[in-house]
Structures are given as C-alpha cells and as structure tokens.
Symmetry: C2
Subunit: 381 residues, 2 copies
C-alpha cells in the first residue's frame, strides 16, 4: 500500500478527534499495512447458492471471481498477497485456500469453530508475527462489494494514516444512500466535515427501524457501519487488555496451547461481534466517511444493485427470458430462467434447488433454511 | 370392449335423435370396437416440460406413466392393444413407439407432417384394415385426464352402441363444472334427458368469452366438447364423401401413392380440425353426456386439479418446500423448489429451464415460446 498521511503538524490547534486526515496533501508513511480478511462467516441469506460448505464469500455472485477473491485482489495494488492474512474456520479452510492460490499456506488462520468476529479478529491478530502486529492492520469482511476501488483504496490509505498516528481504532463509515434497516450505523460526534477526514464516533447504533433510519438519513451525522476496521495490532491487543481482560487472558492461554487444547479452548470462547464486544465499549474511535459505491450485498435483493439490468428493471446473472415481466432479480448457475407476467420477484436456481420469493422477503430466506433444517433436509443445507 | 347396445325396437316411436341409448338395459354387441388415439399433437402450453421432441402426451405430468400411456391403458380392460391404433407424426413416431411396447409396429400410423385433426383422423381411418373400418372406432386425444375410468368406459360403451346402430357420429360431451373459456362447447337440441343417453347436437360452439361461458353453464344445454368421437369407419368415410368430397378425393389418391408421393401429397392437405372441417357441417350428430372427472389438462394451471395438494392449496409434482406460500402449482423434474411468501404462482423446473408465472397467465406460455423462437433459442424449444 502506498501509504500516505497528513502532513499538518499537530500544533495546528484543530481537534484531532473531530477532523483528522482531511483530503490531500498526503505524505508517504514508512510502515507497511497488513490486511486481515474475515472469511469464516456462514449465512443463510444467499441460499440456495450458499450452502454450509460454500458460504457467500466463496460464491461467484457477481461474475467470474468470488467475493473473497475480489476482496483480496481489490487490495493488491497496494496491499499484496505478501501482506494478507485470511481468517477462516477449520471447516472452510480448504475451500478458502483453493480460491487463493497466490497466498502461502501459513496465511490462512483457521479458527477451530466460528465464534463471531471478536474472537476471530482478536485471535487472528494475536497469531500474526510480532513484526506484522506492529503495523497497521485493516480488517475487512470478505463478502462485500465496492464499485469504485480506487476511491476505496484511497480511503483505506487515509484511515491507515490516522490509525497509525493516533493509536486508535478507525472505522470506515458509508454515507447512507437510503434509509437502510439492515445495517448498523455509526453516529458521529459532529456533522461530517467538509472535505472529509476521520472524525470521532459518538456511538455505535444497532440496526434501526424504518422511521429511525429515515431520521438518520436526514440527520447527516449517521454513517453505515461497513464492518471495516483499522488499527495497529499492538493497539488492538492493548485495548482488549484494558476493556476485555477476559478475552485477553483467554488469548494468552490459547497462544500456549497444543493443537488439541486450542480446539477445545476456542470452543469455550463466547461468540460475540467485535462491534458489541469491543467497539461499543471504547470511548475513542474514529471513522472515515467512505464514498465508493459500497454494499454489503446483504440479500438477493441487494445483489440486484450490482447485476446487469434490462430496460424494464430485471437484474440477472445467468440466462433470462422475460415476457411482460419487470423488476425481478434472477440468479441462475445454469440453464435458462423464463419469467412471464411477474414483477418484483427473486428467482434463484442453484444446484439442486430453485427459490422463488418477492424481493421484499429477501431478508427472510432463513425461514426456508430453518424449514429445511426442521425437516432434516441436510442435503440442501 | 364388452360392447352393449339398446335393445329397444326402433318402432317404439321415440325420436332416435333426441333420446338414444339411455342407461341399461344393455345387450352385448357383436362387433369389436377399435380405438384410434391421436398422438401427433405438439403444443406450447406445457413448456418447458414439453418440447418439440417430447410434447405433452409423452410427458409424465401426473405420475409414473405418460398421458399417452394412461390413455391406452385406461381402455385396456375392454379395448386391448390388439384393437388400438396410434396416429402420430413421423417426427414423433419413434418416441411414441418407445412408450407403447405392447403395440406391434404396424399400429403406429405416422403422418408425414402434422395437419391437425381432420387429415389425421380421416387418413388414419382410411389406413385401417377394411375389417377394422367396419367396426365402431373411438377417436381419442392422448393428452387428457380421466378421474373415474370405469364411468369413462361405461360412457364409451354406450356411445359405441349408438354409433353402430344409427350410423352417425357420436361425441362425448362433458357436463360443465365451471364457466371454462378454454374449451369448445356442444349445444344440445334439448336439455339433457334424465337418466342420460345420447342426444342430438344442435351446433358446435367455439371457445366462448367468460360472460357467454357463464350463460352456457347456467343454461344446462351446453356441454364441453371433449374431442372424443365414435363412428363406424365406413360411416366416417361416407360422411366425408358427402360433406368434404375434396378430402375424400385426396385420401383416395394418397392411398395409391408411393411413400415419396405420400410425403409430398400429405403436406398439400389443408390443416384443419375435424370440428371445423367436418363435424360442424354435419346435421346429424349425437352426444352422450360424460361424467367421469374429465379434464383436457389444458395448461399448467389446469394440471393443478390432478396433482397432490397441501393444506394451503399448493399443488405439486416433485419436491416442494413452501414457507408462507399457498395456492401455487409446482412441477419439478428434479431437485427441490422452495417458495417463500408467494401465492398463485406456477413454478416449473424441467431440464435446463425454469418457468415462473402467475396461474392466470398459464394460457400465455406460448408468448415465452414465441420469444425463444424469435431469439433463435432452438435448443430450448
């Protein structure tokens, strides 16, 4: 990463917490940034394309490469494979490795079991070589979408500079485009400064209801929480010791454990997100507004934003024949999907399953998965 | 077929045209009834299950056997394979034969090209051995559904008796169950007689609009035209000579043609239905009301009537998982179809294609097929 930072001297009198790292001028930093990519997730919202053995990050949802491959290669101009680590789970390790032949085997850190993002991140950081832990680490989900990759890297650059200089956690916050109820929000301590720059986060906000989301959108101080964090590894471990000594102690024990002890001990960790388990408990977090066409691709309906479209609003990956049918989302891994006289549907054909639902039910795919689980249909999970 | 007929002497004074062949007493007839099954049709309403190479009659739409196989085997208790002929086209002959190994090869009469039912029936009858032509022949479509097969055979029996005795064409007319706009109707000269029996047909009526269909349903004198005809072969040929001498002459020429001349000459025949080309021009047709749970299975929506159902009105063939989804029709030749929050849809998975449409658009599947034709997608036709 061609790292840059703000040249302005700290004596300028500006509060660093309110308007850090405005746009250029930027200077080269001397440290190297590392990336820790979280690829251990398993979800249900992309069933039937996603299954237990091939979760969303491994799917080619938007074209030739999987979301995981896109995440790694998006960084490559500045953070190459030699600076990437992949956090995953032991059950997915093989499939994740197969998708990233450019990374050496030791870069895949496999949790013995999925325990959500706090254990995954904390343990992975503790497993990095100490020289790497001393650098700024950007932690990224592996299943998101970025339209403008140059703008994305520029923001990472700027956030990395702030994280290094101020020894704090820096998050990336996306300027809301609509009153989304599927995301958490970051409330800024003050309205975003003209010209950007990292600002202090007042609080993390859980997924709001629609009315609240509309208020957030109008307010201007609320950003979508993109789940991207930057910090020096040493900073994170120090913050854990202070705020979550229980986790710090557990990590220290796991660090000296045999493989068998690790497998058993890791399962004892409480599953919790880094948002709830750590970030919301810190009083000093910065966020940098991100404007790069970001999406978490949180559902089949959200996928529509990034798929090819036709004149009547159908979005598709795969062969579609639409007759008097518009505004549908179609994903097909083979063959042809024909729609006649339907609007606003999601139609997915993947492997041995077909799914049909209205777009507005796209967040409820888990109900289908639960029904399959309840019926013992493990071959479909 | 254990053929029976009315024993009542013609001198009874009753008009034979109004109340022929009432219910038993019935007597054994001495002739054997033959069946001519029409299996040359090609339609689009069951796409994507039906394709040019496997039209509806060859599909296993309702279970293990195809509709053609069911049609033949439904007759078997009384009209066995030794008395069946199959009219098809040369392009389907192989597939049709493969489904009916119990019939000897000479029983498959292959038109050089499809020319609708008048040429198909007239030519096929002319090709029967003369001894068979002397018998009563029942002409049946090969793609219909009959729920009560015993009642069906009883009606055939009764109609055959009338056809033999009176040297006329006898049709089977289904008592309407709803104001169907997809069928032609037969108007009786008088309301159906109590106790049944063949009655004179006043006219054939083309598919009505909904208002007219409602009037027909309330009137009581209108029956659905089931497309099933009975006549002595010699009677049909005599009627053709009288009413359609052009067709009679063409048949005589084809009867003396070489295979090459047949292929060329047959294509010269005008494509027309036997309803429009002959039946509507006859002034002496009888019909026997049929009450056997008949359906022409005219669309994916109509198929719902004969598929297994669940408590919320989903009808299916194949594996279905429905969550908050009811009143849908699902047909799947493999894998699983999952529906979430949708109602009143038809969802078909067959081979390389998936089709989704509302049930009320089921008559419009041809629009999809036309779109594929227009796009040169012959591999899907």
């Amino acid at each position: 990463m061609s790292l840059t930072a703000l040249a302005r001297p700290r004596s300028s009198g500006l509060s660093l917490r309110d308007t850090l790292s405005p746009s250029p001028p930027r200077l080269q930093l001397e440290t190297i940034v590392k990336a820790l990519i979280l690829a251990g997730g398993s979800g249900t919202r992309f069933w039937p394309a996603s299954r237990r053995s091939s979760p969303k990050q491994l799917l080619r949802l938007v074209g030739e490469s999987s979301l995981l491959q896109r995440t790694v290669r998006r960084l490559a101009p500045e953070i190459g494979p030699q600076d990437c680590w992949i956090s995953t789970t032991s059950s997915l390790r093989r499939a994740v490795r197969d998708q990233l032949p450019e990374l050496p085997p030791e870069r895949f850190l496999a949790e013995p079991a999925g325990r959500n993002t706090l254990p995954a991140i904390a343990w992975s950081v503790s497993m990095l070589p100490s020289v790497a832990r001393d650098d700024v680490i950007v932690v990224l989900p592996s299943d998101h979408w970025v339209a403008d990759e140059t703008a994305f890297r520029r923001s990472l650059d700027e956030a990395a500079a702030a994280a290094r200089r101020d020894e704090v956690v820096v998050t990336l916050g996306v300027r809301p485009r609509h009153p989304e109820t599927g995301y958490g929000y970051l409330e800024l301590a003050a309205p975003p400064a003209v010209g950007g720059g990292a600002q202090r986060v007042r609080r993390f906000v859980e997924k709001p209801d629609l009315e609240t989301a509309r208020r957030f959108l109008a307010d201007g101080r609320y950003l979508w929480n993109a789940g991207i964090f930057l910090f020096r590894g040493a900073t994170l471990l120090r913050l854990l010791e202070r705020v979550r000594p229980d986790v710090a102690v557990a990590l220290a024990e796991l660090g000296e454990a045999s493989p068998e002890e690790l497998a058993a001990g890791y399962r004892q960790l409480r599953a919790e997100s880094i948002d709830a388990g750590l970030m919301e408990r810190l009083d000093d977090i910065l966020t940098l507004p991100l404007d790069c066409g970001w999406s978490d691709l949180g559902s089949w309906a959200a996928l529509a934003e990034v798929l090819a479209g036709d004149a009547v609003g159908n979005r598709r990956l795969g062969d579609l024949v639409a007759v008097e049918a518009g505004g549908n989302v179609v994903y097909s891994d083979r063959g042809t999907v024909a729609l006649l006289g339907v609007d606003g549907l999601v139609v997915v054909r993947s492997g041995d399953a077909v799914l049909v639902m209205p777009k507005e039910r796209a967040q409820d795919v888990r109900l289908v998965v639960q029904s399959l689980e309840g019926g013992g249909r493990v071959e479909l999970l």
